[in-house]
C-alpha cells in the first residue's frame, strides 16, 4: 500500500497488520464522512423525510464486515448507512439514494431506511426493528442449503424487547442456523435509556437459549473484528447461531429531529473520548507504529473523495416519474 502524506509525498510502504489497520480506519472514516454529508445535505433540504445516522458506531459494521466472505449475507437496520458502506456499497450510489436520485443504489425508490444491494451482500435494511433479525435468520436457512455461507443481523439493543428477537433467536437455535446476531447497544432506544425498559441483562437472553454470546468494546474496531471472526468461524463450522453485544454510543440524535436532551450530563463528551476513529488513530500509532502523517493522508483523501461525491450527487438526475411506472409484479421465469 502506497501511503501518502497530506502534502502528497510518499512516506512509507505499509504491509500486514499496519496496512490492514489503516484500511479499517479508512472504512470507518468513509462512514463518518458519509454521515456528515447526509446531515449537511439534510439541513440544505436535499435529503428528505428522516435519517438515522451511524456516527460513533462505525467500528461495529466495519469490524464485522471485515471478516465476511463473498457468499455471506447481511441484514442491516434503518440506521444502516454504515452497514451498507462497510460491505462495500458504493458511497456515490448510496448518497444518490439519500438524495432520491435515479442513480441511487435502489433508483431512489428506497431512501435512507430501506437500502438493498444484493450485489454487495446487503439483503436489506429494515425500517421496522427486528426485520433484520428475521431476514438474516431466513438467509441463513438458504445459505446452509447452498454451502457454508453465514448470515449476519445487525440490530439495536431496543430490538431485544421485540417479538422478532425472541422468536428468531429460538428458531435459529433450534435449527442450528449459521447466523451471527450483532446487537449494537448504543444505550438508547430512540429517546429512552435501555435500562429503563429492559429487564435483566441483554447478554443473558441469548445465553439462556444456548447461543454463545460475547460482549465487546464497540468503539474498538479490532475488538469487534476479533469477536466477529471467532463467531463467524463457529457459525460457518456448523455450531449454530452466535451473538455479539457491541457496546457503543451514537454521537448524534436518534433521528434528525432529536437534540438528545435525554443524555446524562457529560455522557456524550465521555463517549467521544472513545470515538472509534480516535481509538483507531491511537492504536495505529501505538500498536502498529503507523506514522500520524499517514493517517492524515487518509483523512485528506477521504475528504477530497467526499467533496467530489457530494458534487456528483447534487448533479445526478431525479427519476422520471413516467419511467418509474414499475411493474407491480416480477415477471415469473421459472
Amino acid at each position: 500500500m502506497a501511503a501518502t502524506r497530506k502534502d502528497g509525498a510518499a512516506v512509507t510502504e505499509l504491509s500486514g497488520p499496519a496496512q490492514h489497520g489503516v484500511e479499517l480506519y479508512r472504512r470507518m472514516l468513509v462512514v463518518r464522512r458519509f454521515e456528515e454529508a447526509v446531515q449537511s445535505l439534510f439541513q440544505k433540504g436535499e435529503v428528505h423525510g428522516t435519517t438515522h445516522l451511524y456516527v460513533g458506531e462505525e467500528a461495529g459494521a466495519v469490524g464485522v464486515a471485515d471478516v465476511l466472505r463473498p457468499h455471506d449475507r447481511v441484514a442491516g437496520t434503518y440506521r444502516g448507512h454504515g452497514h451498507a458502506l462497510a460491505l462495500g456499497v458504493d458511497p456515490q450510489a448510496l448518497l444518490d439514494e439519500m438524495l432520491g436520485r435515479e442513480t441511487g443504489v435502489c433508483g431512489g425508490r428506497a431512501g435512507s431506511m430501506n437500502v438493498i444491494d444484493l450485489g454487495n451482500r446487503l439483503i436489506g435494511c429494515f425500517g421496522i426493528i427486528g426485520g433484520s433479525i428475521s431476514a438474516a435468520t431466513g438467509a441463513a436457512l438458504a445459505l446452509r442449503q447452498q454451502g457454508d455461507g453465514v448470515a449476519v443481523a445487525f440490530f439495536g439493543e431496543g430490538t431485544t424487547n421485540h417479538g422478532y428477537f425472541h422468536e428468531c433467536l429460538n428458531f435459529a437455535a433450534v435449527l442450528r442456523l449459521p447466523v451471527l446476531f450483532v446487537c449494537e447497544n448504543n444505550r438508547y432506544g430512540e429517546f429512552t435509556p435501555f435500562e429503563d425498559v429492559t429487564a435483566g441483562e441483554i447478554a443473558a437472553r441469548p445465553q439462556t437459549l444456548g447461543i454463545p454470546t460475547e460482549t465487546v468494546d464497540g468503539m474498538d474496531v479490532w475488538a469487534v473484528r476479533e469477536a466477529a471472526e471467532a463467531a463467524v468461524e463457529r457459525a460457518r463450522a456448523g455450531e449454530g447461531p452466535q451473538f455479539i453485544q457491541s457496546m457503543t454510543y451514537r454521537f448524534v440524535g436518534h433521528s434528525r429531529s432529536d437534540p438528545g436532551r435525554y443524555r446524562k450530563p457529560g455522557e456524550l463528551e465521555e463517549w467521544k473520548q472513545r470515538d472509534p476513529l480516535k481509538v483507531a488513530r491511537e492504536k495505529l500509532a501505538a500498536a502498529f507504529g503507523v506514522d500520524g502523517a499517514v493517517v492524515d493522508g487518509v483523512d485528506a483523501e477521504v475528504e477530497a473523495q467526499f467533496e467530489a461525491i457530494v458534487e456528483r450527487s447534487l448533479a445526478a438526475p431525479y427519476p422520471d416519474p413516467v419511467r418509474d411506472a414499475a411493474r407491480e409484479f416480477a415477471p415469473t421465469t421459472s
Binding site: R73, L118, G124, A142, F329
Partner: protein
C-alpha cells in the same frame, strides 16, 4: 370414485411434486412435517424430502414468515403454512413490509418468492378467531398475490403455479373444502389471475371464490327452476382480480351479484364492484353485494349458519333484489 382427487390430497401432491421438481423449494410451519399438518394436508412430505427441506417450526409466526422472506431473497422458494388465517396478522410484517415491497424497493434487484398457505373460512364452528377471511386485510397490498381455489383441480394447479411464481403469494385454503373430492387438474399449471366461468347463464352474474362458488352454483340451480339463469364466475384469485372476465360476463347478463364470505364494509366485493362499475357502468342494470354482517363470526350453529352467505341466502337475496317469482 377411486380416481377422484380430494382437496387436501391436491395440496399435498402439489407440494410433493414441486419439492421433487425444484430443490430450491422448502416447506415449513407448525406441525406440518412429522405430524403432517393439523388439517392432514401435508402427510408424507417430511419422509419423502427430508428434514432439511420439510420441517416443523416453533409457534412463531413472526419468525416463520420473516425467515421465509430472508430465505427467498437468498435464493430459496419457501412455502410456509400459517395454520389458521386468523394468525396472519402476526405474519403481516414479513408479508406486507418485507416480501411484497422487495421487488419494487430494490429497484427490481430480486423478487421475494414466498408462498404463504393458510386455512381460512367459517362454517366449521371454530368461533370468531379461527374462522375469518383475511382477503380484505391483504388485498390492499401491492406486490402480493392472493389465491383462493374452489376445487381440488384448481387447488393443485394453482398451488404449483404459486410456488413457481416469482412473487409472494397468499394461498388460501377454505377449511370446508379439504374433504371435497373432484377431478384431477387437466392443465399442469394455471396462470394466477384468471377467473373461470363455471356455469353459463344470461340473466345474472354471480362472482365468488372458494366455498361461495359452490353455494352460488347450488343457488343457480334453484333459481333456474324459477326461470332465472345465473352465470357463475369463480374468480380464483383476489389479487390480481380478473376484472375483464367479470365485465365480459356482465356484458351478457347486465346484472352482478358479488358473494363474499367476510364483513361487508371494506371487503373485496366492494373493490370488484367498483372496478366493474368503472369499466362497464353502461352494461349494468343492477349490481350488489352479499356478505356477512359487520360482526365477528359467531360460534353457535344457528347463529353461524344465519351469519354466512350460503346457498339459501344467495337465493333469497336474488329473489328479493330481482323480484323473481315467489313460491320456491
Amino acid at each position: 370414485m377411486a380416481d377422484k382427487l380430494e382437496f387436501r390430497r391436491a395440496i399435498r401432491d402439489a407440494l410433493d411434486e414441486e419439492l421433487a421438481r425444484d430443490e430450491r423449494v422448502v416447506f415449513f410451519g407448525e406441525d406440518v412435517a412429522k405430524p403432517g399438518g393439523v388439517f392432514a394436508a401435508t402427510p408424507g412430505l417430511y419422509d419423502a424430502h427430508g428434514e432439511a427441506r420439510v420441517f416443523d417450526t416453533p409457534i412463531s409466526e413472526l419468525a416463520i414468515t420473516g425467515a421465509a422472506f430472508g430465505a427467498a431473497v437468498c435464493g430459496l422458494r419457501p412455502v410456509i403454512e400459517i395454520m389458521f388465517a386468523d394468525f396472519l396478522p402476526l405474519a403481516m410484517d414479513g408479508m406486507v413490509n418485507q416480501a411484497a415491497k422487495y421487488w419494487y424497493l430494490s429497484n427490481e434487484q430480486a423478487p421475494a418468492p414466498i408462498v404463504v398457505r393458510s386455512a381460512y373460512g367459517a362454517g366449521g364452528r371454530f368461533g370468531a378467531i379461527h374462522s375469518q377471511s383475511p382477503v380484505a386485510w391483504f388485498q390492499n397490498v401491492p406486490g402480493l398475490k392472493i389465491v383462493a381455489p374452489s376445487t381440488p383441480a384448481d387447488a393443485k394447479a394453482l398451488l404449483k403455479a404459486a410456488i413457481r411464481d416469482d412473487n409472494p403469494v397468499l394461498f388460501l385454503e377454505h377449511k370446508r373444502l379439504y374433504s371435497l373430492k373432484g377431478d384431477a387438474p387437466t392443465e399442469e399449471v394455471t396462470t394466477i389471475g384468471e377467473a373461470k366461468v363455471v356455469r353459463a347463464g344470461g340473466d345474472l352474474t354471480i362472482a365468488a371464490v372458494a366455498t361461495s362458488v359452490h353455494h352460488a352454483l347450488a343457488a343457480a340451480e334453484t333459481l333456474a327452476a324459477k326461470g332465472l339463469e345465473a352465470e357463475v364466475v369463480d374468480l380464483r384469485s383476489l389479487r390480481p382480480l380478473d376484472v375483464p372476465a367479470v365485465v365480459a360476463s356482465v356484458t351478457k347478463t347486465n346484472r352482478l351479484l358479488v358473494v363474499e364470505e367476510g364483513p361487508l364494509t371494506g371487503g373485496w366485493a366492494g373493490e370488484l364492484v367498483a372496478q366493474v362499475s368503472e369499466h362497464a357502468l353502461g352494461e349494468l342494470d343492477d349490481v350488489w353485494r352479499l356478505a356477512t354482517d359487520d360482526l365477528p363470526t359467531p360460534y353457535s350453529p344457528p347463529l353461524e349458519d344465519d351469519f354466512l352467505p350460503g346457498t339459501e341466502a344467495i337465493v333469497a337475496s336474488v329473489r328479493e333484489r330481482l323480484g323473481v317469482a315467489a313460491g320456491a
